[in-house]
Subunit: 562 residues, 2 copies
């Protein structure tokens, strides 16, 4: 009876890194058939040293691989597609279907080339108005505006009712190189009895309306009008629309554009080949050609606006770039917001550039960057257009979801029809009610470190944090099996604790103490308890170090009988 | 001849952590006599694990201790006084004079109690209009507004001319529990032929005028009006003025105030004793008394608005506080801006509080915090009031100084009269010119870690960073002196690299390889080159690990002959 009830529900399960609910991946399950939306990763937190990415935990799919009907992708940003190489091997089978817009598809395929051992994906192209059938699900795609072209929202028809998934979006009536938001189309969707709206919450804490790309372009144009030296424009390689703006303005003001850096070159090339970046013949030049033109005719397009150590902009700033050196008269445009956690690095980068007599324009000084996400007024409009029975805010930290829920309330939705969920929670959707199940699916962090996926657990991470704090101290004592006494002087290896050359006295005392501990304990006759001796060394030397230095290095005793 | 020239100049030397020019400490030197202004510290950068603080490098003062005439303090924030316990021992002598306002003095003395072994400082109280003579310098103090009471600007009369040092400041015509900015007084100072203005640049990149505390108070009052549960207000313990506002509003709306946490209790107590915080009898209650009142009558004052792990707010959020647990209806006020680098932690804290059904008010939602620093319009006004011949922007990152220099240009100052300096640079000031000397004084980081001051150098720090990245791997091989072969199986200690229990095969192969390397090299007869063998282990095992895991742990071989 209960099983029957459950099966008539649709289950919606957001997955991904803690906090960013459903952004990286979502599951839709009806009578054991599963539709997946997106498969992206998240960057690690500061307290996860050495970790490359966090990918969604998909252990819920273990044993259910055959039930996965297909995967649809909303757009080509890495937080929506980046985890494919790390996860796809776990659920792939011949015939598994993938759906993406042409640009998204191009980016996924290009990335797959870096992982030659993985299965080749057979990705079907979908566009505005495409309809696909996957068992109980029919997905109709509709164009949305974001800061990358070819972003698709989803209307998912299910036996329970119609669901709208907005993808990341903003409303823009004057986008760059793209069609404006088609409100008529959206209103048409809204008339199709939407049972549930899943809507992007990234901008839900920001008042008003997101900036139009037209405003951004006007401000960028001011910089082009007043710059007589080179313009070095730094942004994310994935912000295809911003890149297009820079190319367009460069053409307007007679500048050649040199894309520099691996990811920037790749993305410009790919987007151009697919028609998503337009540039006149001769506009794009290679690094070698830069010197053939006067400074006033040059724009360099590069990454590094976040102060990434290995990016082109940092190399130029640190005078390590192959052929570009800053000179007076150059202008640097940092056209991206600063990702939380990068503020100090970006400050240092900015300072470093300014010291070289170069002008720096950044988004805090003037509107030269827009975030790509709908803000409060737009979100309210979306709710009104779709007029859903139920609402789940997705794509955001908890505080953004809470704010988005408040927007829904203000738009007139009753409290009980709004669900603020977290990753791993199961939302049961039925035609007349929505609820969160008591049981959860695993949603803890899965960390990627080098070739290892999920093998760095809490123990390893805690050790790294501890090692970083005060370093470590290895003590190797050789003990004579017959006498139970230490032979010679214990070996010591220390890293990250104190500067050894200036700590000779400390080391001398430490050696003495270790000998005392071992000889005092082992020498008492009978069976020697080595693990007790090791604990004694750890505790007593730890205490000694703390008294002397107020630091707590990780102490690792090795006692060897010979 | 050159010496003569130099001696007729005044030397100004900003010191402190990289970037924050002159904030932590400044030297004024005339004919070898030295006046010091402030002695503060800076918090470490993210890439400095385990470091507690960065204090100014004062090696320039080595050998010149007797020339130091005195130290004046502008205000009681730790970036201006915090380094005293770490540096004072290096320059202290009986009779060294210190000058501070009553509150600043109280805070310094209170802090000194935590360092009982240091010399007791004899601090003379100074106030608005106080004048002191120190050799060639006469310092006249004048009241400024900031977010801590008792902030003093300096008019330093020197044989070269008059210098204004603004301290950290903002203009506020409606401050809390403090007198409004006395423009008449400032204009009077401006009429005294100011040769050089040193002015606070912290807000130089912010447009317009800083918010008045009156605006903040109105917004805070809205929260008090609409809250029916407890109000938990988190801010820095050093923001005495904000604390006063919360106490005042609590009294107005019939709430008792419970200061929680060590630094909050200390600061409230000290400021109250000195008359800088006013509270009616019975307003302040202890933690134990909280339960005696209904929720609507309680305000908790605590630290932790930055998401600090050990602060009271975090403890409450994590349900670890001794007696306060969040409940529905509570309101949390985060009344401080987020320090760059803390954004993600604060986001997690906010999410955590919201999940417990508690309302969160923060400075991004409404103006419930003001920065304490003058913004563009105020800075321009200050330059106009003082009408100096020369100008040096101080107290800020390079980009803020550059922006402040631009403000001075716009205020009509000629380019050559503006000096943007960095810590460790020597600015030579004469009645008719200002210049930066070619030589510099040491100004590199001095890091405090536990009891060590300056003993954590680049090597130790780099090791910590490397240990954090991929952990470490110690290999202990016992070698038979006679045969040159490894005895038994090498011991292995690994931390932060891989999870050992799941890496048995990797460890087995590693042991095998180590034995091969040692036996293959040492077994060839003749003198055994142990350092060569160790290098071989490091390189070959490093390579092996990278191929297998794409991680690079620090490899530490120990080879012991028995």
């Amino acid at each position: 009876m209960i099983k029957q009830l459950r099966q008539s529900n649709l289950r919606i399960i957001p997955l991904g890194g803690l906090g960013e609910v459903g952004r990286n991946m979502m599951l839709f399950e009806y009578q054991e058939k599963i539709l997946i939306c997106d498969m992206g990763f998240r960057m690690p937190e500061e307290d996860m040293p050495g970790i490359d990415y966090i990918v969604p935990n998909i252990s819920y799919l273990q044993g259910k691989e055959k039930n996965v009907l297909g995967i649809v992708f909303t757009h080509g940003h890495y937080d929506h597609i980046g985890a494919i190489p790390y996860l796809i091997g776990k659920i792939w089978r011949p015939g598994l279907q993938f759906f993406a817009s042409p640009l998204t598809r191009g980016i996924i395929i290009r990335r797959q080339e870096e992982f030659p051992n993985l299965p080749k994906l057979n990705i079907t192209e979908v566009r505005d108005n495409s309809r696909i059938n996957l068992g109980p699900f029919t997905v109709e795609f509709f164009k949305m505006n974001h800061n990358i072209p070819d972003d698709l929202g989803l209307l998912i028809e299910t036996p329970v009712g119609n669901i709208i998934h907005t993808s990341d979006f903003k409303f823009d009536s004057h986008p760059v190189n793209d069609l404006p938001t088609n409100f008529q189309k959206l209103e048409g969707l809204g008339r199709r009895r939407i049972l549930l709206l899943l809507s992007d919450s990234t901008g839900a804490e920001e008042e008003g309306h997101s900036l139009s790309e037209q405003t951004i372009e006007k401000n960028l144009e001011e910089i082009f009008i007043h710059s007589s030296g080179r313009i070095i424009s730094a942004t994310f390689a994935s912000l295809i629309n911003r890149i297009q703006q820079i190319i367009y303005l460069s053409e307007k003001y007679g500048r050649k554009v040199c894309p520099e850096g691996y990811s920037m070159k790749i993305n410009v090339e790919l987007s151009k080949a697919l028609g998503y970046i337009k540039a006149k013949k001769g506009t794009l030049i290679s690094g070698k050609e830069v010197l053939n033109y006067p400074d006033s005719k040059i724009t360099v397009l590069c990454t590094g606006a976040q102060g990434e150590g290995s990016a082109v902009l940092m190399k130029i700033a640190q005078r390590e770039h192959r052929f570009i050196r800053f000179k007076k008269g150059d202008s640097v445009i940092l056209s991206s917001s600063v990702i939380p956690g990068n503020e100090r690095t970006v400050q240092m980068l900015k300072d470093n550039i300014l010291r070289q007599g170069v002008k720096v324009f950044h988004y805090k000084m003037m509107d030269i960057h827009a975030g790509g996400h709908a803000q409060k007024e737009e979100l309210k409009e979306m709710i009104k257009i779709m007029n859903p029975k139920f609402f789940i805010p997705i794509h955001g930290q908890y505080s953004m979801l809470a704010s988005h829920a408040q927007i829904a309330r203000e738009a007139g939705m009753p409290e009980k029809n709004i669900v603020v969920a977290e990753n791993g929670q199961i939302i049961n959707l039925a035609p007349f009610n929505i609820s969160v199940a008591r049981e959860q699916v695993p949603a803890n962090y899965v960390m990627v470190d080098g070739l290892g996926i999920g093998d760095v657990g809490e123990v390893v991470l805690r050790d790294r944090q501890m090692l970083a704090e005060d370093g470590m101290f290895v003590i190797v004592a050789i003990v004579d099996r017959k006498t139970g006494k230490v032979k010679g002087s214990p070996d010591i290896i220390s890293r990250g604790f104190v500067y050894l050359r200036e700590s000779k006295e400390l080391l001398r005392e430490t050696r003495k103490k270790v000998i005392e501990i071992v000889n005092g304990t082992s020498g008492s006759g009978g069976i020697v308890n080595w693990s007790y001796i090791k604990d004694e060394i750890r505790n007593k030397i730890g205490q000694f170090f703390y008294t002397k230095t107020q630091r707590r290095p990780m102490i690792l005793p090795v006692v060897i009988e010979v």
